[in-house]
């Protein structure tokens, strides 16, 4: 092996040599070598990804224009290749933009926007174009027509991988039957081995976009997914970043780009949820971090050996006895009147006193005099530092601490202040923390008394709370941008400050009703539930999690449940195992909710479909191919809560269903036994046959509907044995004209009369519905509005 190290001494040739091979690569070239990163790793997969990218774009485009999407997807065999056609009814793309949108990677309107949308990077569709040109050598054929144009634009183009620029081979106009929209035709090397994933993708897209109509034609099948609602998803607005969500690099970049001078202005204009008050809090935190605070001490007490007045008198020379005395007294008075005083406060006091005396006596107090006075007074203030430290430590620790130990710690903290370079006792939180830590360590070593973590923290916080923020102006935007440490202090200050969660109008959840509608449309189940959580924030990006469950019906009872995963309304069909939503499903105990789950964890079994949708301005994916949601704890928690919410609804349904089934079983058994009892009783007592309907209905607390016919007079007796009101719809279909019975609607159809009553029968009450018909007619009754298990019809 050649060792460059040994040659280094010989000269700079190696670097030169290496430099010859180093050059910028275009993004297109990069893609060519890293197709798998974008989901084009095989022919089968490539087809799914191309469909997915094109459909996502189509949905985004139509939605943005407020058009109900009508999307056509066709996959056809074309010689050695497959031809993919995707058409939408979107607003169309202007002539100038078409080559860039389809012929240039990383071109798009989305990357910089904080708004929920399907595509984000502007890689998708042009990557499909690139993939098709690389595998088939054929150009992409694009047709687009904007609203109001009579002709459509037509392009054939490829991407120049060296320059990442479109290379147009045909540019023309053509006619197209759609009033507006875009059509792309790609030919690529592919196969249909991923048919299942393709179908899943299209079907799941239909579930989650109930407002879209999608037609899907592939070599062996032709499927149509009809629209279930005319309601468009809520329009989203773009938002500024949230202070909790930016990283240092981004912050520095933003600082460089802003027009604001002050940090406060910068915060208010560049971030969401920051007004004057929030900006003030951030700036205050920023100053504390940047400058630190000044420790405020108790002014000298009468018993202490310190005298501010005397000290100032000594420090002031040549100002006349009277003026000096007045000045010293004023400062001593002002300081003595305070609980605590910090250095900058002392400065202010001295300034004020000097100004006052100047005005009264006409004697000038120059800067030097003032500074000397401050120094002299401060020396007196800090005389009491140790005693003050003792009080603060004593306040902060529990009463169980030994007096000597408290004193030892306080003494060491005071010494740290005394030895500090900054005589103003100005320090940052970290420095203060260091003082206390070291003092505590020493106290443990020397005096064998330990102050635990909590006690130390309490001491630090007690000191910090009496320390005063300094009056210095916060660093300006330029200063902050120029110094990485300062910028980092600002970032910490931003994160530390409580700020409202970002607004959620940048998000468009599907909403509960439409989640159910979507599931209902594609799955024939007995029960549907949906849950939409409130918005939460992850890294400054708001997100909303939704969950849906379909249960029973035609869903297969055997095997694991299906989990449909969506991010920003895009189905995720690959890498199920790597997805946070799958992990969450597996860790929920589904037995609690009535689903079978072997071993009590893992994928549940049973006739159910679970759906998870994460909507965010920035969904964290595990990779660029956007197949799996990353395991972000905040998102996982919300997924779990959403699933549990929907699952609770399912559990209620299942419980009710089970109790209904139990009731039905009881009814079946009793309904079998009672007539046998009655038969036997008639036999033993030799009396006429018995009717058991009343007894049965009473046992089951049912609503009983019985018919009594006497000549041409028909009575329908509705008895309510249940403990709630019953509101049945009773329809009797009669073979002869019943006239106009009281309280009933009569409709005649093909020689049959539909007589309908909707009585309200209170618990324990009876309603009688009567009418007259001729003899020898036919009856056919139907009772609706009461569950079968709670109804006994004997008519």
């Amino acid at each position: 092996m050649t060792s460059y190290q040994s040659e280094l001494g010989g000269g700079g040739d190696v670097a030169e040599e290496l430099a010859k091979g180093q050059r910028a690569i275009s993004i297109a070239e990069f893609f060519e070598k890293n197709k798998h990163m974008l989901g084009f790793d095989s022919g089968a997969r490539g087809l799914v990804t191309a469909v997915k990218e094109a459909v996502d774009n189509a949905l985004d485009a139509t939605e943005e224009a407020g058009i109900l999407p009508d999307i056509y997807v066709e996959i056809a065999e074309a010689g050695d290749y497959y031809r993919l056609v995707i058409e939408d009814n979107g607003p169309g793309i202007t002539r100038e933009q078409i080559p860039k949108v389809f012929g240039k990677l990383l071109y798009g309107s989305r990357f910089h926007a904080r708004e929920q949308s399907r595509g984000q990077q502007g890689i998708g569709i042009s990557a499909a174009v690139l993939y098709s040109q690389l595998t088939s050598g054929k150009p992409a054929k694009i047709t687009s027509k904007t609203q109001g144009s009579s002709r459509a634009e037509y392009f054939e183009l490829i991407i120049d991988t060296d320059t990442n620029e479109p290379e147009i081979s045909v540019e023309d106009t053509t006619t197209w039957e759609r009033p507006h929209g875009t059509r792309i035709e790609l030919e690529m090397e592919a196969n249909m081995r991923a048919r299942q994933q393709l179908h899943d993708y299209v079907k799941h897209t239909a579930v989650v976009n109930p407002h879209a109509r999608i037609e899907f034609r592939e070599p062996s099948e032709h499927l149509k997914y009809e629209r279930a609602t005319d309601e468009m998803p809520a329009e989203t607005t773009e938002i500024r970043p949230h202070p909790h969500g930016v990283e240092l690099g981004t912050l520095i970049k933003m600082l460089g780009a802003t027009d604001s001078y002050s940090v406060s202005g910068f915060l208010q204009s560049e971030f969401t949820r920051v007004g004057q008050k929030t900006a003030d809090s951030v700036v205050s935190n920023f100053r504390d971090r940047h400058y630190g605070r000044e420790m405020a001490w108790q002014p000298p007490q009468s018993h202490q050996d310190a005298d501010i007045e005397a000290a100032i008198t000594d420090a002031v020379n040549g100002k006349g006895k009277e003026a000096t005395a007045a000045f010293a007294a004023a400062v001593a008075d002002a300081v003595g009147g305070r609980d605590r005083v910090a250095h900058h406060e002392l400065v202010a006091v001295v300034e004020e006193a000097a100004d006052d005396v100047e005005a009264d006596s006409g004697v000038t107090f120059g800067d030097t005099v003032r500074e000397n006075a401050v120094d002299a007074a401060w020396r007196e203030v800090v005389v009491g530092r140790e005693a003050d430290c003792y009080r603060l430590v004593d306040d902060a620790t529990t009463s169980r601490k030994d007096d000597a130990a408290v004193e030892a710690l306080a003494r060491r903290v005071a010494t740290a202040f005394a030895n500090a370079e900054d005589a103003r006792d100005r320090l940052t939180h970290d420095t203060l923390s260091g003082y206390v830590q070291r003092a505590a360590e020493r106290t443990k070593e020397r005096d064998d008394v330990s102050f635990g973590e909590t006690a130390r923290e309490n001491v630090v916080e007690t000191f910090w709370s009496v320390a005063r923020s300094v009056p210095d102006d916060a660093p300006s935007v330029t200063e902050t941008e120029g110094d990485r440490d300062t910028a980092s202090e600002l970032l910490e200050a931003m994160r530390e400050t409580d700020i409202l969660a970002p607004p959620t109008d940048c998000l468009a959840p599907i909403t509960g009703g439409l989640v159910k509608a979507g599931l209902q449309k594609e799955y024939d189940a007995d029960f549907y539930a949906a849950a939409t959580r409130d918005a939460e924030v992850h890294g400054g990006d708001p997100f909303i999690v939704e969950a849906g469950i379909a249960y029973g019906g035609d869903l297969p009872a055997e095997g694991q449940v299906d989990v449909l995963r969506f991010a920003n309304r895009v189905p995720l069909v690959y890498q199920r195992g790597a997805c946070a939503s799958t992990d969450v499903v597996k860790r929920i105990n589904w037995r609690n909710y009535g689903l079978d789950q072997p071993g009590g964890s893992g994928m549940p079994n049973g006739p159910a479909v679970l759906m998870v949708h994460v909507a965010s301005t920035n969904v964290p994916f595990t990779s660029e191919s956007k197949d799996a949601i990353a395991n972000v704890p905040a998102i996982e928690d919300e997924i779990e809560l959403a699933l549990r919410e929907a699952a609770r609804e399912m559990k209620r349904y299942l419980n009710k269903r089970r109790s209904m089934e139990k009731r039905q079983r009881k009814q079946d058994v009793i309904a079998d036994i009672l007539p046998r009892m009655a038969d036997k009783l008639s036999e033993v007592t030799e009396r006429e046959e018995l009717h058991v309907g009343d007894s049965l209905a009473r046992i089951m607390n049912n609503v009983l509907v019985e018919r009594e016919v006497d000549g041409g007079h028909v009575k329908l007796v509705v008895r309510n044995f249940s403990d709630t009101n019953a509101e049945p719809d009773v329809t009797d279909i009669v073979g002869a004209d019943p006239g106009d019975p009281e309280g009933a609607q009569v409709v005649e159809m093909d020689g049959e009369w539909f007589v309908k009553w909707s009585p309200t029968v209170s618990s324990g009450e009876t309603a009688v519905l009567e009418y007259d018909v001729g003899d020898d007619t036919t009856f056919d009754i139907s009772v609706e509005g009461i569950e079968d298990a709670k109804l006994t019809v004997n008519a």
């Binding site: 058994v669 009793i670 046998r676 009783l681 007592t685 018995l690 058991v692």
Partner: protein, 368 residues
């Protein structure tokens, strides 16, 4: 009751009662009500002393069997099927055993009406006895096991399938004695030469008494109980007391289970408290083995087991044993923690029981 001309009329009465019961259910159905029947709760806590009759009968607590639940509906269905079966049996003048009824239900067309266990069918017959006020013997239902044996100076006439038989219970019988039929009401007492009745728990002791000629020497009718006495045995004992005015004594082992045997003869059993009036002999007196005998005669003993102790404690709470005599004896037994069998008396010699123990005890009790 015991004369032959009564029997067909009695059968007819029983049948009517059954049909009345069915008619009650029929009426409940016809009125659109939920069919149900009320039965006294058959537990220790629901028996009370009937001052007038001197026996323990069921108290006021009832449980309701109704078709409101699946279980209740099935029970009523079975009850109705049994009613039908019994009234047919009476009409045809046949009889069957409790066990036969259990197996017979297998032949019914409706699976839901079949019994799951014999306990269920036995219990149902008891239910019907209670609600119809007719004894199961009058339904022509027999228990599987036969009644006990009698030895003593007593002449009876029994109606058998093969006609009437007159039997003297000493002269006409072998060493085993006269076998009591299941329905004691087919027996008529003609004559006797006895001074008292002694009901004996174990077969071994009965054989000892017979071998030693106790029945002859003391003019005693010895009735073998054979463990917990069958209804027929209890009924016979009561009739000997009531009709012949003979004092009744009970001679058992000295353990809690034997006291219950005495209890069922004297006070009536919990399960058939509805028949106490007909089966119990409140005047019956307990001979022993008493716990105090164990001490007095220094009998060989076994220690009390846990279940013995529990049974004794439970007897202390049993309303039937709430007398000074029993409380004293039971507490003494718990104190000495010992029990003894009747045969333990043999430790003093085979004749000790007939020559010493029984004469002493009977004298104490004022019987001889």
């Amino acid at each position: 009751m015991s004369s032959d001309s009564d029997i067909p009329r009695q059968d007819e009465l029983a049948r009517e009662r059954l049909i009345d019961l069915a008619a009650e259910f029929y009426d409940q159905f016809a009125a659109g009500e939920v069919p149900s029947m009320q039965i006294p709760t058959r537990t220790k806590s629901n028996i009370e002393y009937d001052e007038e009759k001197g026996v323990w009968v069921y108290g006021d607590r009832h449980s309701t069997r109704s078709a409101n639940t699946v279980g209740g509906a099935q029970k009523l269905l079975k009850a109705i099927y049994v009613i039908d079966f019994l009234q047919n049996q009476l009409e045809e003048n046949r009889s069957s055993t409790l066990r036969e009824l259990y197996y017979l239900s297998e032949s019914w067309d409706l699976d839901a009406a079949q019994f799951n266990s014999q306990d269920e069918s036995n219990g149902l017959i008891e239910d019907l006895e209670i609600v119809s006020h007719v004894k199961r013997e009058d339904f022509h239902m027999r228990p599987e096991e036969s009644g006990a044996k009698v030895m003593g100076p007593l002449l009876i006439r029994e109606q058998t399938n093969r006609g009437e038989r007159e039997i003297h219970c000493q002269d006409d019988v072998g060493q085993g004695g006269y076998q009591i039929p299941n329905n004691v009401d087919t027996v008529e007492f003609l004559d006797h030469d006895a001074d008292f009745v002694m009901a004996v728990e174990t077969g071994g002791m009965r054989d000892r008494l017979v071998e030693n000629g106790f029945d002859e020497d003391y003019r005693c009718i010895v009735v073998h109980l054979g463990g917990q006495p069958a209804r027929a045995t209890r009924r016979l004992t009561k009739r000997l007391h009531d009709e012949l005015d003979l004092p009744v004594t009970v001679f058992t082992d000295g353990d809690p289970w034997s006291y219950r045997i005495f209890g069922s003869i004297s006070y009536g059993s919990i399960k058939s408290a509805h028949l106490s009036e007909y089966l119990a002999t409140p005047q019956a007196q307990f001979i022993g083995i008493q716990p105090s005998d164990i001490v007095e005669y220094d009998l060989p003993t076994d220690p009390l087991s846990d279940s013995d102790v529990n049974a004794l404690r439970s007897e202390l709470e049993d309303p039937r044993f709430q007398t000074d005599y029993w409380r004293e004896q039971i507490e003494l037994q718990l104190d000495i923690n010992k029990k003894a069998e009747q045969q333990a008396l043999a430790s003093r010699g085979l004749d000790f029981v007939t020559d010493t123990y029984l004469p002493e005890r009977l004298e104490e009790m004022g019987i001889v």
